[in-house]
Structure formats: structure tokens, C-alpha cells
């Protein structure tokens, strides 16, 4: 590997600062003892972390977001596999149209989707329900899941599957023993990307979540409309801490690179 020149080094440093600054600021402010967003704070206190305990709705909203993100991303990835295999391998009539349709949620402003879903769910009696949230989230995260499953389906060498067939494997066995294991890195990164999008989606969700089904970002959004205290920063700091802990644990257990890129860190 070639060494970075000084200009590249400065550029990269600035870039990393630019990326990390908001996170650092949020975490910093979370430790203020003041009753407002004071930055930079010079005194330190866990006051606003203790305050979270007095708002159990933040904690239940966190679990709500986690469950919603995990479920809708898993379902979106599940649906994206057959779609990706079909788009990657077959030239059928309407192939471009299907791809465009699957990608279209990206193109529509989420506020429009939110209003449309609100109307639709009220019509069919799903408004404010968890089922409704899952359905809506599957649709908005589907393009992210599909993009990555599609990439790994296109990268799959057909002759590997042919080899399995020639050795006597049935279609189902080929899918289970060869195709799926080979696209798992794509599925994992597709799921991760979908999950992140579901977890922080607020524009659309604010319309369709009911009082009992509000997600964490929706709760925070509603909270800051009425309050100016730093509670949301301590909640954010907790989410950031949980994310970092989760990533570290995943990396220890499986190797993030292997899971998301499809290669181990030993460069094998």
C-alpha cells in the first residue's frame, strides 16, 4: 500500500472531523448539568441520563424502533432475494419496469409517502398499528435491500451453480447450499443498510405511527417540539453508545468485513 501524501492526510483528517463532529457535540452536550442545550459545557453531570428513566416512553420507543427495523429489514431482504435473482439472471419482458418500480420509493418524497400511507391505512383500518408501520417500512427500505442483494446476485458466477447441478443437486439444494451462502454478505449488508434507514426514518413515520407505536425518532421529534432541555441529546448519546457496542460485538463475533464485504480481515 502506498503512503498518503500530506495533502491527502489533511483532507482525510478534515473529512473525518466533519463526519464525527456532530456526534461528538451531541455526546458532549448530553453531559451538561444545565437545563438547556449549553455548548461547550464546562461542568459535567449525568443529570440528563438519569432523566431518561423518568420517561419510560423513550425506552419503549427504542424497543419499538429496534423491532420495527429488524422485522421490516428482514422481510425486505427476504423479498429482495427472488427479485434480485430474477433481475440479475433473466431477460424478461418488463424487467426494466420492475426494477424502476422497486426503486421508486427512493424517488418519492417521504412526506408524500407518509400522507399516502396515512390515508390508505385509515381506509383499511391499519392506522397507528404496528402492522401498518412494518408494511410502510418494508416499502421504503426495500430499494436499499434490493440494491445490495442485486449487486451480489450479479456478482455470482453461474458456473458455480452449474457445478452443483452437475454433481446431482436439486434446484432447492443448489439454492440452499450454494446460492444463498454466496449471497449472504450481500444480504447482511442489505439488511444493515435497510435497518439503519428504518431506524432513523421520521418524516414518513410521524404520520403513520400511533401513540402506542411511536418509534424513537418520532418520540424525540415530538419531544423537541415542546421542550428545549437536553434530554434528547442524552437519548442520542445512548443510541450512539449502543450502536458502537453492537458494531464491536459483531466484529468480534463474525468480523464486520467478512459479513459486509465478503472477505475476512486476514485477507484470505
Amino acid at each position: 500500500m502506498s503512503k498518503n501524501g500530506p495533502i491527502a492526510l489533511i483532507y482525510h483528517t478534515l473529512f473525518v472531523i466533519f463526519m464525527l463532529a456532530p456526534i461528538v457535540v451531541v455526546c458532549w452536550v448530553a453531559f451538561t448539568p444545565e437545563g438547556f442545550l449549553s455548548f461547550p459545557t464546562t461542568d459535567w453531570s449525568l443529570r440528563w441520563f438519569r432523566a431518561i428513566a423518568r420517561y419510560p416512553e423513550f425506552i419503549s420507543a427504542f424497543w419499538q424502533s429496534l423491532g420495527l427495523g429488524a422485522l421490516s429489514s428482514a422481510l425486505a431482504v427476504g423479498f429482495s432475494v427472488p427479485a434480485a435473482l430474477a433481475i440479475a439472471r433473466h431477460r424478461f419482458r418488463g424487467r426494466e419496469a420492475f426494477t424502476a418500480l422497486f426503486m421508486s420509493p427512493l424517488m418519492i418524497p417521504y412526506i408524500v409517502l407518509g400522507i399516502a400511507f396515512l390515508r390508505f391505512f385509515t381506509e383499511i383500518g391499519l392506522s397507528g398499528s404496528f402492522t401498518g408501520l412494518v408494511l410502510a417500512h418494508i416499502i421504503v427500505v426495500f430499494p436499499f435491500a434490493l440494491r445490495l442483494t442485486l449487486a451480489s446476485a450479479i456478482g455470482l458466477d453461474r458456473s458455480i451453480e452449474h457445478a452443483a447441478v452437475s454433481l446431482g443437486a436439486s434446484e432447492w439444494t443448489v439454492l440452499k447450499r450454494v446460492t444463498l451462502p454466496l449471497v449472504v454478505p450481500g444480504l447482511a449488508s442489505g439488511w444493515a443498510l435497510a435497518f439503519i434507514n428504518s431506524f432513523d426514518e421520521v418524516t414518513m413515520t410521524v404520520f403513520i405511527a400511533g401513540p402506542g407505536t411511536a418509534t424513537l425518532p418520532v418520540r424525540m421529534f415530538l419531544y423537541i417540539q415542546d421542550n428545549i432541555d437536553p434530554l434528547v441529546t442524552s437519548v442520542s448519546a445512548c443510541v450512539i453508545a449502543i450502536t458502537v457496542a453492537g458494531l464491536v460485538a459483531l466484529d468480534r463475533a463474525y468480523g464486520l468485513e467478512r459479513l459486509l464485504v465478503g472477505r475476512g480481515h486476514d485477507g484470505r
Partner: protein
């Protein structure tokens, strides 16, 4: 009827005929090569036998039975793909065991046969490795072991050696030939390398634009090419008075066709000459026996036995 019989086998992709009426009989235990330039339909032919490409015409029979009616998974053929197509997420042993598992072979028997076959290809010590931890030649041998272990009726090899460097390729050719002799599996090899085809095969099928130009043992095809295409494809050739004369058949003599040496290239075990004559520029190959040879610019006479 031959063991494997291709009858007027054809495949058209739209208006383009990739394989055009190929008829070929392969005997049991025979090693046959499909040889031809890029795009002449070799892979397509192999894929039709394997069942991954559906013929647009003709028939394929194995021991007299219609092979096209059999699903690819049930044909019992061993295939080595050009890209090896090993299962990257399985160890070498798991790769080789896969076919046996599909046949429902019991675990103990499976392990025994996997070890046996890995021994045959000289990879006994590599069973626990993953494909990405092996060199190209080793991967190729795993692919071969994976295809052989199911005791296929026919072994289909699609340019299995083309990714290897020259020295390794030569070693693998010898090994492949020995293994094929030991196991006695009927083998069809696809290659565009004429030396490889001639070194390995009992018979070669020289293909051009989807057709077989000649089907013959290598020696016969080389000495008595059926068409100018075959003559050219199987090595350097001179066209003298409408007859093909191989460069190594021409000698320097005291009398004969007069000419002047244009260029002389030393190639280790032989000399390669270009001689200007009344019949045009002729290529002459002479073994390097250590003696003095005509230099560039020298006047020489050329003689050869009528082919």
C-alpha cells in the same frame, strides 16, 4: 453405435449458428478434444452435453439412450469449468464430498472416497483448506477431484488448463493424462491450444464456425489435414504448389529448390528459418543437432519428401 453419440447437433443463438450440425461418436474410455479458435462453438457443444444449453436441433445419445430427455442433475457427468467453479465457502474436502452427498453415499464411505480421490490428484494434505488458499493449479486439481469422485460416465473439461502458466500447464497435462488413464473415464476436453489437444487426445475434433472440419487421431490430422484450415490450425505450414508441407519436413540439401535465407531464429532445440524461394517465402524448422547451420543471406537448396 458409439458410447456417446452426437447427431447433427446444432445450436442457434438468433440467426447465428454457434454449433452447426456436429456429428461425433466417442468410444468408452476415449479421450477426445474439441479444438478450435475462440467462438467456434466448443463451450456451447460441451454445455449441450452437460444440459445447460438446450440444442436447437439434433440428438445426443449415451449408450443408445436419449440424453436430452435426462435432467442435467441426473446425467451423471463430471464437469470441470474453465473458472474451476469451486464452492468458495466450502473446504477442499467438502467440495469433493458434495457430489457423493448428493448421491446419498454414507458418511464413512464418503470420507474414504474423498481421501482416495484427493490422493489421486496429489492434494491429500490440503483437505482442510479453502479454495482461496490454493494456487491456480491446485484449485484446478480440486475441480478435477470433485468431478472424478462421483465416478462420472463422462468427464467434460472446458479449457481447464488455460489459466495456468506454461510450465504448470505442461505438468498438469501429463498428470491429467495419467489420471485419465488410471481411472479410464471417457473424457471430452475443450481447448484452443493445439499442442495441448495433440498431447492429450486419442482423437481431436478440429472445429471452425460451429462445424467439425476434421475428426482424427492427432498424428493423422497433423500429417494429413483434411482442409487448409486444419493444416494451419495444427501448426506452421507451407503451401507449395497447392500442397501443404510442414516446415520440419524440409531439409537443406545440395540440390533442390534454390533459395536465400532471409531470417534465422534460434529457439533452443530447433532453428526457425524463413527462406526466399521461387515458390514464395517458406518456413523451415531444423533440429538443433549442434552442427553449423546456414547463416542469414546464405544461398541454400531445399528438399522434402512428397507428403
Amino acid at each position: 453405435m458409439a458410447f456417446l453419440q452426437l447427431d447433427a447437433l446444432s445450436k442457434a443463438f438468433g440467426p447465428h449458428k454457434a454449433v452447426d450440425g456436429l456429428t461425433l461418436g466417442v468410444e468408452k474410455g476415449e479421450f477426445v478434444s474439441l479444438l478450435g479458435p475462440s467462438g467456434c462453438g466448443k463451450t456451447t457443444t460441451l454445455q449441450m452435453i452437460a444440459g445447460f444449453v438446450e440444442p436447437s436441433g439434433g440428438a445426443i445419445r449415451l449408450e443408445g439412450k436419449d440424453l436430452l430427455a435426462v435432467k442435467p442433475a441426473k446425467r451423471g457427468l463430471g464437469i470441470v469449468f474453465q473458472s474451476y467453479a469451486l464452492f468458495p465457502h466450502m473446504s477442499v474436502a467438502e467440495n469433493v464430498a458434495f457430489g457423493l452427498e448428493m448421491q446419498g453415499v454414507a458418511k464413512a464411505e464418503r470420507a474414504k472416497r474423498v481421501a482416495e480421490t484427493l490422493g489421486l490428484v496429489g492434494l491429500g494434505a490440503f483437505a482442510a483448506r479453502f479454495p482461496r488458499q490454493l494456487s491456480g493449479g491446485q484449485q484446478q486439481r480440486v475441480a478435477l477431484a470433485r468431478a472424478l469422485v462421483i465416478r462420472p460416465q463422462i468427464l467434460l473439461l472446458d479449457e481447464p488448463l488455460s489459466n495456468l502458466d506454461a510450465k504448470l500447464r505442461e505438468e498438469m497435462q501429463i498428470e491429467l493424462r495419467q489420471i485419465q488413464r488410471t481411472v479410464g473415464t471417457t473424457t471430452i476436453l475443450v481447448t484452443h491450444d493445439q499442442a495441448e489437444a495433440m498431447a492429450l487426445s486419442d482423437r481431436i475434433v478440429v472445429m471452425n464456425q460451429g462445424r467439425a472440419e476434421q475428426i482424427a487421431p492427432p498424428h493423422e490430422a497433423y500429417e494429413r489435414p483434411a482442409t487448409p484450415f486444419v493444416a494451419n490450425f495444427l501448426g506452421k505450414t507451407n503451401l507449395i504448389d497447392g500442397k501443404a508441407v510442414r516446415p520440419e519436413r524440409i531439409e537443406f540439401a545440395s540440390s533442390g529448390l534454390a533459395g536465400t535465407v532471409r531470417t534465422r531464429i534460434f529457439q533452443g532445440n530447433h532453428w526457425l528459418y524463413q527462406v526466399e524461394t521461387a515458390s514464395g517465402l517458406l518456413t523451415v524448422i531444423r533440429q538443433n543437432a549442434g552442427g553449423t547451420m546456414p547463416e542469414e543471406g546464405a544461398s541454400v537448396h531445399l528438399a522434402w519428401a512428397a507428403p
